[in-house]
Subunit: 213 residues, 2 copies
Amino acid sequence: MFLDDISFQNMYTGEMKQIPEPARKRLVLLERILENYPEKNITSLKIQNLTGWSSAVVRRDISYIGVSCGATNGYRVRELHHTLRNELYDFSEEKKGCIVGLGKLGQRLLDTTELYGTPFKIVAGFDSSVNKTEVLSSSFPLHPTPLMKKIIADENIVFALLTVEREDPQETCNLLIDCGIKKIINYTSTILSVPDEVKVRNVSLLTSLYLLS
Amino acid sequence: MFLDDISFQNMYTGEMKQIPEPARKRLVLLERILENYPEKNITSLKIQNLTGWSSAVVRRDISYIGVSCGATNGYRVRELHHTLRNELYDFSEEKKGCIVGLGKLGQRLLDTTELYGTPFKIVAGFDSSVNKTEVLSSSFPLHPTPLMKKIIADENIVFALLTVEREDPQETCNLLIDCGIKKIINYTSTILSVPDEVKVRNVSLLTSLYLLS
DNA sequence: ATTTGTGAACAGTTTCACAGCG
DNA sequence: CGCTGTGAAACTGTTCACAAAT
Protein backbone atom coordinates (compact mmCIF):
# COMPACT_ATOMS: atom_id res chain seq x y z
CA MET A 1 0.00 0.00 0.00
CA PHE A 2 2.85 2.38 0.82
CA LEU A 3 5.83 2.82 -1.43
CA ASP A 4 9.31 2.95 -0.08
CA ASP A 5 10.86 6.00 -1.62
CA ILE A 6 14.22 6.31 0.07
CA SER A 7 16.91 4.27 -1.57
CA PHE A 8 20.56 3.71 -0.98
CA GLN A 9 23.37 2.48 -3.09
CA ASN A 10 25.40 -0.56 -2.20
CA MET A 11 28.95 0.66 -1.69
CA TYR A 12 30.58 -2.19 -3.60
CA THR A 13 28.16 -3.34 -6.28
CA GLY A 14 26.62 0.05 -7.02
CA GLU A 15 23.24 -1.66 -6.90
CA MET A 16 20.39 0.47 -5.59
CA LYS A 17 18.51 -0.92 -2.65
CA GLN A 18 15.66 0.20 -0.47
CA ILE A 19 16.26 1.03 3.14
CA PRO A 20 13.79 -1.18 5.06
CA GLU A 21 10.96 0.83 6.53
CA PRO A 22 11.68 -0.06 10.17
CA ALA A 23 15.23 1.14 9.62
CA ARG A 24 14.05 4.39 8.03
CA LYS A 25 11.76 5.13 10.96
CA ARG A 26 14.65 4.68 13.35
CA LEU A 27 16.99 6.76 11.20
CA VAL A 28 14.50 9.64 11.14
CA LEU A 29 14.37 9.54 14.94
CA LEU A 30 18.13 9.21 15.16
CA GLU A 31 18.53 12.32 13.00
CA ARG A 32 16.43 14.22 15.49
CA ILE A 33 18.35 12.85 18.49
CA LEU A 34 21.68 13.85 16.96
CA GLU A 35 20.49 17.36 16.22
CA ASN A 36 20.81 18.22 19.90
CA TYR A 37 23.40 15.69 20.97
CA PRO A 38 26.08 17.55 22.89
CA GLU A 39 29.08 15.26 22.49
CA LYS A 40 31.46 14.98 19.58
CA ASN A 41 31.26 11.21 19.15
CA ILE A 42 28.58 8.61 19.76
CA THR A 43 28.80 4.81 19.79
CA SER A 44 26.12 2.36 18.76
CA LEU A 45 25.98 1.31 22.40
CA LYS A 46 25.18 4.84 23.56
CA ILE A 47 22.41 5.01 20.97
CA GLN A 48 21.13 1.68 22.32
CA ASN A 49 20.94 3.15 25.81
CA LEU A 50 19.16 6.24 24.54
CA THR A 51 16.58 4.45 22.40
CA GLY A 52 16.28 0.81 23.37
CA TRP A 53 17.26 -0.36 19.86
CA SER A 54 20.02 -2.99 19.97
CA SER A 55 23.48 -1.75 19.07
CA ALA A 56 23.59 -4.27 16.21
CA VAL A 57 20.41 -2.84 14.71
CA VAL A 58 21.82 0.66 15.07
CA ARG A 59 25.02 -0.29 13.28
CA ARG A 60 23.17 -1.98 10.45
CA ASP A 61 20.77 0.96 10.08
CA ILE A 62 23.68 3.35 9.83
CA SER A 63 25.47 1.09 7.37
CA TYR A 64 22.48 1.48 5.00
CA ILE A 65 23.28 5.16 4.56
CA GLY A 66 26.93 4.38 3.91
CA VAL A 67 28.60 6.30 6.68
CA SER A 68 31.96 4.86 7.55
CA CYS A 69 33.31 6.30 10.72
CA GLY A 70 36.62 4.63 11.20
CA ALA A 71 36.17 2.56 14.32
CA THR A 72 37.38 3.00 17.89
CA ASN A 73 35.62 6.15 19.02
CA GLY A 74 32.20 5.64 17.55
CA TYR A 75 30.56 7.87 14.96
CA ARG A 76 31.38 11.53 14.60
CA VAL A 77 28.10 13.14 15.55
CA ARG A 78 28.14 16.15 13.20
CA GLU A 79 29.17 14.08 10.19
CA LEU A 80 26.61 11.37 10.91
CA HIS A 81 23.87 13.93 11.43
CA HIS A 82 24.74 15.70 8.20
CA THR A 83 24.76 12.47 6.19
CA LEU A 84 21.49 11.35 7.73
CA ARG A 85 19.77 14.58 6.76
CA ASN A 86 20.99 14.33 3.21
CA GLU A 87 20.14 10.68 2.77
CA LEU A 88 16.72 10.82 4.42
CA TYR A 89 15.43 14.01 2.88
CA ASP A 90 15.51 15.16 -0.71
CA PHE A 91 16.47 18.81 -0.55
CA SER A 92 16.48 19.26 -4.31
CA GLU A 93 12.98 20.70 -4.12
CA GLU A 94 10.85 22.13 -1.35
CA LYS A 95 7.63 20.21 -0.79
CA LYS A 96 4.73 22.45 0.14
CA GLY A 97 1.75 21.32 2.12
CA CYS A 98 -1.48 22.49 3.68
CA ILE A 99 -3.51 21.83 6.81
CA VAL A 100 -7.12 20.94 6.14
CA GLY A 101 -9.35 21.49 9.15
CA LEU A 102 -8.45 24.05 11.79
CA GLY A 103 -9.83 22.40 14.91
CA LYS A 104 -7.55 21.91 17.90
CA LEU A 105 -5.24 19.48 16.11
CA GLY A 106 -5.02 21.67 13.03
CA GLN A 107 -4.24 24.64 15.27
CA ARG A 108 -1.51 22.64 16.99
CA LEU A 109 0.07 21.95 13.61
CA LEU A 110 -0.09 25.67 12.67
CA ASP A 111 2.57 26.33 15.27
CA THR A 112 4.87 23.44 14.52
CA THR A 113 8.57 24.03 14.27
CA GLU A 114 9.22 20.37 13.57
CA LEU A 115 9.70 20.88 9.84
CA TYR A 116 12.63 23.29 10.19
CA GLY A 117 15.62 21.78 8.48
CA THR A 118 13.55 19.47 6.28
CA PRO A 119 12.41 20.07 2.70
CA PHE A 120 8.80 20.12 3.89
CA LYS A 121 6.95 23.37 4.51
CA ILE A 122 3.36 24.13 5.39
CA VAL A 123 2.17 27.13 3.41
CA ALA A 124 -1.61 27.24 3.85
CA GLY A 125 -4.49 26.27 6.10
CA PHE A 126 -8.11 25.62 5.17
CA ASP A 127 -11.34 25.47 7.14
CA SER A 128 -14.97 25.58 6.12
CA SER A 129 -15.61 28.10 8.90
CA VAL A 130 -14.68 31.60 7.78
CA ASN A 131 -14.73 32.55 11.43
CA LYS A 132 -11.75 30.25 12.07
CA THR A 133 -9.76 31.33 9.03
CA GLU A 134 -10.18 34.97 10.01
CA VAL A 135 -9.63 34.78 13.75
CA LEU A 136 -6.72 32.36 13.96
CA SER A 137 -3.26 33.69 13.32
CA SER A 138 -0.38 31.88 11.73
CA SER A 139 2.82 32.51 9.82
CA PHE A 140 1.07 31.54 6.55
CA PRO A 141 -2.39 32.40 5.16
CA LEU A 142 -5.59 30.62 6.17
CA HIS A 143 -8.34 30.27 3.59
CA PRO A 144 -11.98 29.20 3.47
CA THR A 145 -12.38 25.76 1.89
CA PRO A 146 -13.98 26.96 -1.38
CA LEU A 147 -10.65 28.57 -2.33
CA MET A 148 -8.80 25.27 -1.94
CA LYS A 149 -8.55 24.32 -5.60
CA LYS A 150 -7.14 27.68 -6.62
CA ILE A 151 -4.65 27.98 -3.74
CA ILE A 152 -3.34 24.42 -4.10
CA ALA A 153 -2.74 25.01 -7.80
CA ASP A 154 -1.24 28.50 -7.36
CA GLU A 155 1.06 27.51 -4.50
CA ASN A 156 2.00 24.16 -5.99
CA ILE A 157 0.96 22.31 -2.83
CA VAL A 158 1.72 18.59 -2.94
CA PHE A 159 0.75 17.21 0.46
CA ALA A 160 -2.11 17.68 2.90
CA LEU A 161 -2.51 17.15 6.63
CA LEU A 162 -6.12 16.06 7.06
CA THR A 163 -7.34 17.22 10.45
CA VAL A 164 -11.05 17.84 9.93
CA GLU A 165 -13.24 17.25 12.98
CA ARG A 166 -16.81 17.99 11.90
CA GLU A 167 -16.74 17.41 8.15
CA ASP A 168 -16.77 13.95 6.63
CA PRO A 169 -13.09 12.99 6.20
CA GLN A 170 -13.81 10.94 3.06
CA GLU A 171 -15.56 13.88 1.38
CA THR A 172 -12.74 16.25 2.25
CA CYS A 173 -10.27 13.63 1.02
CA ASN A 174 -12.14 13.39 -2.30
CA LEU A 175 -11.92 17.15 -2.60
CA LEU A 176 -8.16 17.03 -2.01
CA ILE A 177 -7.71 14.34 -4.65
CA ASP A 178 -9.76 16.46 -7.02
CA CYS A 179 -7.29 19.28 -6.33
CA GLY A 180 -4.46 16.99 -7.43
CA ILE A 181 -3.05 16.11 -4.00
CA LYS A 182 -1.24 12.75 -4.03
CA LYS A 183 0.09 12.61 -0.46
CA ILE A 184 -2.15 12.76 2.58
CA ILE A 185 -1.49 12.35 6.28
CA ASN A 186 -4.79 11.30 7.78
CA TYR A 187 -5.26 12.23 11.44
CA THR A 188 -8.94 11.26 11.51
CA SER A 189 -10.06 7.82 12.60
CA THR A 190 -11.75 7.15 9.25
CA ILE A 191 -10.14 4.72 6.82
CA LEU A 192 -9.90 6.60 3.54
CA SER A 193 -10.59 5.09 0.12
CA VAL A 194 -8.21 6.52 -2.45
CA PRO A 195 -6.98 5.63 -5.95
CA ASP A 196 -3.69 3.71 -6.18
CA GLU A 197 -1.61 6.74 -7.09
CA VAL A 198 -2.61 8.59 -3.91
CA LYS A 199 -0.56 7.66 -0.83
CA VAL A 200 -2.11 7.92 2.61
CA ARG A 201 -0.43 7.58 5.99
CA ASN A 202 -2.69 7.23 8.99
CA VAL A 203 -1.66 8.82 12.28
CA SER A 204 -3.86 7.68 15.09
CA LEU A 205 -3.58 9.58 18.35
CA LEU A 206 -4.87 6.83 20.61
CA THR A 207 -4.25 3.48 18.90
CA SER A 208 -0.88 3.31 20.68
CA LEU A 209 -2.75 3.21 23.96
CA TYR A 210 -4.34 -0.14 23.09
CA LEU A 211 -0.96 -1.51 22.05
CA LEU A 212 0.67 -0.37 25.28
CA SER A 213 -1.26 -3.12 26.99
CA MET B 1 11.60 -2.13 24.60
CA PHE B 2 7.86 -2.71 24.23
CA LEU B 3 6.13 -5.77 25.55
CA ASP B 4 3.47 -7.55 23.58
CA ASP B 5 0.65 -7.99 25.99
CA ILE B 6 -2.15 -9.47 23.95
CA SER B 7 -1.96 -13.21 23.66
CA PHE B 8 -4.06 -15.89 22.06
CA GLN B 9 -4.40 -19.58 22.61
CA ASN B 10 -3.72 -22.10 19.89
CA MET B 11 -6.97 -23.92 19.30
CA TYR B 12 -5.42 -27.36 19.13
CA THR B 13 -2.37 -27.40 21.36
CA GLY B 14 -3.67 -25.02 23.99
CA GLU B 15 -0.31 -23.27 23.82
CA MET B 16 -0.38 -19.53 24.43
CA LYS B 17 1.04 -17.38 21.67
CA GLN B 18 1.50 -13.70 21.06
CA ILE B 19 -0.43 -11.98 18.31
CA PRO B 20 2.25 -10.32 16.18
CA GLU B 21 2.27 -6.56 16.58
CA PRO B 22 1.50 -5.74 12.92
CA ALA B 23 -1.50 -8.04 13.17
CA ARG B 24 -2.67 -6.37 16.38
CA LYS B 25 -2.49 -2.94 14.81
CA ARG B 26 -4.61 -4.12 11.92
CA LEU B 27 -7.09 -5.84 14.23
CA VAL B 28 -7.55 -2.66 16.27
CA LEU B 29 -8.34 -0.79 13.08
CA LEU B 30 -10.60 -3.59 11.89
CA GLU B 31 -12.52 -3.40 15.14
CA ARG B 32 -13.19 0.26 14.46
CA ILE B 33 -14.20 -0.35 10.86
CA LEU B 34 -16.67 -3.04 11.87
CA GLU B 35 -18.25 -0.82 14.51
CA ASN B 36 -20.02 1.14 11.80
CA TYR B 37 -20.15 -1.47 9.06
CA PRO B 38 -23.70 -1.56 7.77
CA GLU B 39 -23.89 -5.07 6.30
CA LYS B 40 -24.48 -8.36 8.05
CA ASN B 41 -21.52 -10.22 6.59
CA ILE B 42 -18.07 -9.24 5.40
CA THR B 43 -15.49 -11.24 3.43
CA SER B 44 -11.73 -10.99 3.67
CA LEU B 45 -11.79 -9.64 0.12
CA LYS B 46 -14.12 -6.78 1.08
CA ILE B 47 -11.79 -5.93 3.96
CA GLN B 48 -8.91 -5.97 1.47
CA ASN B 49 -10.71 -3.42 -0.70
CA LEU B 50 -11.46 -1.25 2.32
CA THR B 51 -7.99 -1.28 3.80
CA GLY B 52 -5.42 -2.37 1.24
CA TRP B 53 -4.31 -5.34 3.37
CA SER B 54 -4.22 -8.57 1.38
CA SER B 55 -7.13 -10.93 1.97
CA ALA B 56 -4.65 -13.60 3.09
CA VAL B 57 -3.26 -11.32 5.77
CA VAL B 58 -6.79 -10.48 6.89
CA ARG B 59 -7.73 -14.14 7.19
CA ARG B 60 -4.59 -14.94 9.14
CA ASP B 61 -5.06 -11.97 11.44
CA ILE B 62 -8.61 -13.06 12.17
CA SER B 63 -7.49 -16.65 12.72
CA TYR B 64 -5.27 -15.40 15.57
CA ILE B 65 -8.32 -14.42 17.58
CA GLY B 66 -9.93 -17.78 16.92
CA VAL B 67 -13.10 -16.74 15.17
CA SER B 68 -14.42 -19.48 12.96
CA CYS B 69 -17.16 -18.32 10.72
CA GLY B 70 -18.17 -21.32 8.67
CA ALA B 71 -17.26 -20.41 5.12
CA THR B 72 -19.25 -19.28 2.12
CA ASN B 73 -20.67 -15.93 3.17
CA GLY B 74 -17.72 -14.39 4.94
CA TYR B 75 -17.61 -13.37 8.58
CA ARG B 76 -20.69 -12.37 10.52
CA VAL B 77 -19.96 -8.72 11.27
CA ARG B 78 -21.56 -8.46 14.72
CA GLU B 79 -19.97 -11.67 15.97
CA LEU B 80 -16.55 -10.77 14.61
CA HIS B 81 -16.76 -7.28 16.07
CA HIS B 82 -17.79 -8.62 19.44
CA THR B 83 -14.97 -11.17 19.52
CA LEU B 84 -12.42 -8.58 18.40
CA ARG B 85 -13.40 -6.23 21.21
CA ASN B 86 -13.12 -8.96 23.78
CA GLU B 87 -9.81 -10.31 22.54
CA LEU B 88 -8.14 -6.95 22.00
CA TYR B 89 -9.26 -5.20 25.15
CA ASP B 90 -9.27 -6.41 28.71
CA PHE B 91 -12.58 -5.24 30.13
CA SER B 92 -12.00 -6.83 33.51
CA GLU B 93 -10.84 -3.51 34.84
CA GLU B 94 -11.15 0.08 33.71
CA LYS B 95 -7.81 1.75 33.04
CA LYS B 96 -7.79 5.39 34.03
CA GLY B 97 -5.51 7.97 32.49
CA CYS B 98 -4.65 11.64 32.49
CA ILE B 99 -3.60 14.28 30.01
CA VAL B 100 -0.45 16.16 31.00
CA GLY B 101 -0.13 19.48 29.23
CA LEU B 102 -3.17 21.37 28.04
CA GLY B 103 -1.82 23.05 24.94
CA LYS B 104 -3.63 22.60 21.63
CA LEU B 105 -2.95 18.88 21.45
CA GLY B 106 -3.96 18.31 25.06
CA GLN B 107 -7.15 20.27 24.42
CA ARG B 108 -7.87 18.17 21.35
CA LEU B 109 -7.61 15.04 23.51
CA LEU B 110 -9.95 16.52 26.13
CA ASP B 111 -12.79 16.16 23.64
CA THR B 112 -12.00 12.72 22.33
CA THR B 113 -14.79 10.19 21.99
CA GLU B 114 -12.37 7.60 20.63
CA LEU B 115 -12.17 5.70 23.91
CA TYR B 116 -15.89 4.91 24.13
CA GLY B 117 -16.33 1.18 24.14
CA THR B 118 -12.79 0.49 25.36
CA PRO B 119 -11.61 -0.12 28.93
CA PHE B 120 -9.61 3.11 28.79
CA LYS B 121 -10.92 6.34 30.26
CA ILE B 122 -9.37 9.76 30.72
CA VAL B 123 -10.31 11.13 34.12
CA ALA B 124 -8.03 14.14 34.69
CA GLY B 125 -6.00 16.82 33.00
CA PHE B 126 -2.97 18.69 34.30
CA ASP B 127 -1.24 21.91 33.32
CA SER B 128 1.28 24.11 35.07
CA SER B 129 -0.78 27.15 34.10
CA VAL B 130 -3.67 27.66 36.53
CA ASN B 131 -5.19 29.92 33.93
CA LYS B 132 -5.60 26.94 31.57
CA THR B 133 -6.95 24.57 34.19
CA GLU B 134 -9.55 27.13 35.24
CA VAL B 135 -10.65 28.44 31.86
CA LEU B 136 -10.82 25.23 29.83
CA SER B 137 -13.88 23.07 30.19
CA SER B 138 -14.04 19.32 30.00
CA SER B 139 -16.13 16.40 31.16
CA PHE B 140 -13.52 15.62 33.86
CA PRO B 141 -11.59 17.88 36.25
CA LEU B 142 -8.46 19.82 35.29
CA HIS B 143 -5.80 20.38 37.94
CA PRO B 144 -2.65 22.44 38.38
CA THR B 145 0.48 20.29 38.13
CA PRO B 146 1.41 20.46 41.85
CA LEU B 147 -1.69 18.38 42.63
CA MET B 148 -0.58 15.61 40.28
CA LYS B 149 0.79 13.20 42.87
CA LYS B 150 -2.32 13.34 45.02
CA ILE B 151 -4.81 13.06 42.15
CA ILE B 152 -3.00 10.19 40.43
CA ALA B 153 -2.96 8.26 43.70
CA ASP B 154 -6.55 9.10 44.66
CA GLU B 155 -8.00 8.34 41.24
CA ASN B 156 -5.82 5.28 40.66
CA ILE B 157 -4.56 6.64 37.34
CA VAL B 158 -2.34 4.20 35.45
CA PHE B 159 -1.50 5.86 32.12
CA ALA B 160 -0.57 9.35 30.96
CA LEU B 161 -0.81 11.17 27.66
CA LEU B 162 2.22 13.45 27.63
CA THR B 163 1.37 16.55 25.60
CA VAL B 164 3.43 19.30 27.20
CA GLU B 165 4.57 22.06 24.87
CA ARG B 166 6.61 24.50 26.94
CA GLU B 167 7.86 22.34 29.83
CA ASP B 168 10.75 19.94 29.43
CA PRO B 169 9.17 16.58 28.48
CA GLN B 170 11.86 14.59 30.30
CA GLU B 171 11.25 16.48 33.54
CA THR B 172 7.51 16.03 33.31
CA CYS B 173 8.11 12.37 32.52
CA ASN B 174 10.27 11.99 35.63
CA LEU B 175 7.48 13.54 37.65
CA LEU B 176 4.98 11.04 36.21
CA ILE B 177 7.26 8.13 37.03
CA ASP B 178 7.62 9.50 40.55
CA CYS B 179 3.81 9.45 40.74
CA GLY B 180 3.88 5.73 39.90
CA ILE B 181 2.80 5.94 36.26
CA LYS B 182 4.05 2.95 34.23
CA LYS B 183 2.48 3.64 30.82
CA ILE B 184 3.10 6.80 28.86
CA ILE B 185 2.08 7.90 25.39
CA ASN B 186 4.64 10.51 24.40
CA TYR B 187 3.40 13.06 21.86
CA THR B 188 6.47 15.28 22.20
CA SER B 189 9.43 14.93 19.88
CA THR B 190 11.78 14.19 22.77
CA ILE B 191 13.05 10.65 23.26
CA LEU B 192 12.33 9.82 26.90
CA SER B 193 14.67 7.93 29.21
CA VAL B 194 12.70 5.67 31.51
CA PRO B 195 13.38 2.66 33.75
CA ASP B 196 12.68 -0.77 32.26
CA GLU B 197 9.35 -1.20 34.01
CA VAL B 198 7.92 1.94 32.43
CA LYS B 199 6.54 1.50 28.91
CA VAL B 200 6.54 4.41 26.49
CA ARG B 201 4.91 4.64 23.07
CA ASN B 202 5.91 7.56 20.91
CA VAL B 203 3.32 9.18 18.69
CA SER B 204 4.92 11.55 16.26
CA LEU B 205 2.62 13.87 14.37
CA LEU B 206 4.91 14.56 11.44
CA THR B 207 7.32 11.62 11.10
CA SER B 208 4.86 9.96 8.73
CA LEU B 209 5.38 12.85 6.36
CA TYR B 210 9.03 11.93 5.87
CA LEU B 211 8.09 8.32 5.25
CA LEU B 212 5.44 9.25 2.70
CA SER B 213 8.24 10.21 0.34
C1' DA C 1 -19.40 -21.94 -6.23
C1' DT C 2 -17.41 -19.15 -2.89
C1' DT C 3 -14.71 -18.19 0.87
C1' DT C 4 -12.32 -19.64 4.94
C1' DG C 5 -8.24 -21.56 7.49
C1' DT C 6 -3.66 -22.94 7.24
C1' DG C 7 0.70 -25.71 6.04
C1' DA C 8 4.65 -24.57 3.43
C1' DA C 9 7.45 -21.42 0.82
C1' DC C 10 9.09 -17.07 0.71
C1' DA C 11 10.52 -12.40 2.07
C1' DG C 12 11.99 -9.18 5.33
C1' DT C 13 14.27 -7.96 9.74
C1' DT C 14 17.05 -8.76 13.69
C1' DT C 15 20.53 -11.07 16.20
C1' DC C 16 24.83 -13.38 16.52
C1' DA C 17 29.54 -13.47 16.26
C1' DC C 18 33.73 -12.17 14.67
C1' DA C 19 37.23 -10.25 11.22
C1' DG C 20 39.31 -5.97 10.60
C1' DC C 21 40.15 -1.16 11.30
C1' DG C 22 42.20 2.69 13.77
C1' DC D 1 41.98 -3.04 22.67
C1' DG D 2 37.13 -1.02 21.65
C1' DC D 3 34.04 -0.50 18.23
C1' DT D 4 32.40 -0.87 13.62
C1' DG D 5 30.68 -3.34 9.57
C1' DT D 6 28.75 -7.42 7.87
C1' DG D 7 28.24 -12.48 6.43
C1' DA D 8 25.39 -16.10 8.15
C1' DA D 9 21.85 -17.86 11.19
C1' DA D 10 17.67 -17.17 13.44
C1' DC D 11 13.50 -15.29 13.69
C1' DT D 12 9.17 -12.87 12.32
C1' DG D 13 5.69 -11.82 9.16
C1' DT D 14 3.49 -12.34 4.47
C1' DT D 15 2.06 -14.68 0.41
C1' DC D 16 0.83 -18.75 -2.03
C1' DA D 17 -2.10 -22.30 -2.94
C1' DC D 18 -5.32 -25.58 -1.87
C1' DA D 19 -8.23 -28.82 1.14
C1' DA D 20 -12.30 -28.20 3.85
C1' DA D 21 -16.67 -26.22 4.81
C1' DT D 22 -21.26 -25.11 3.50
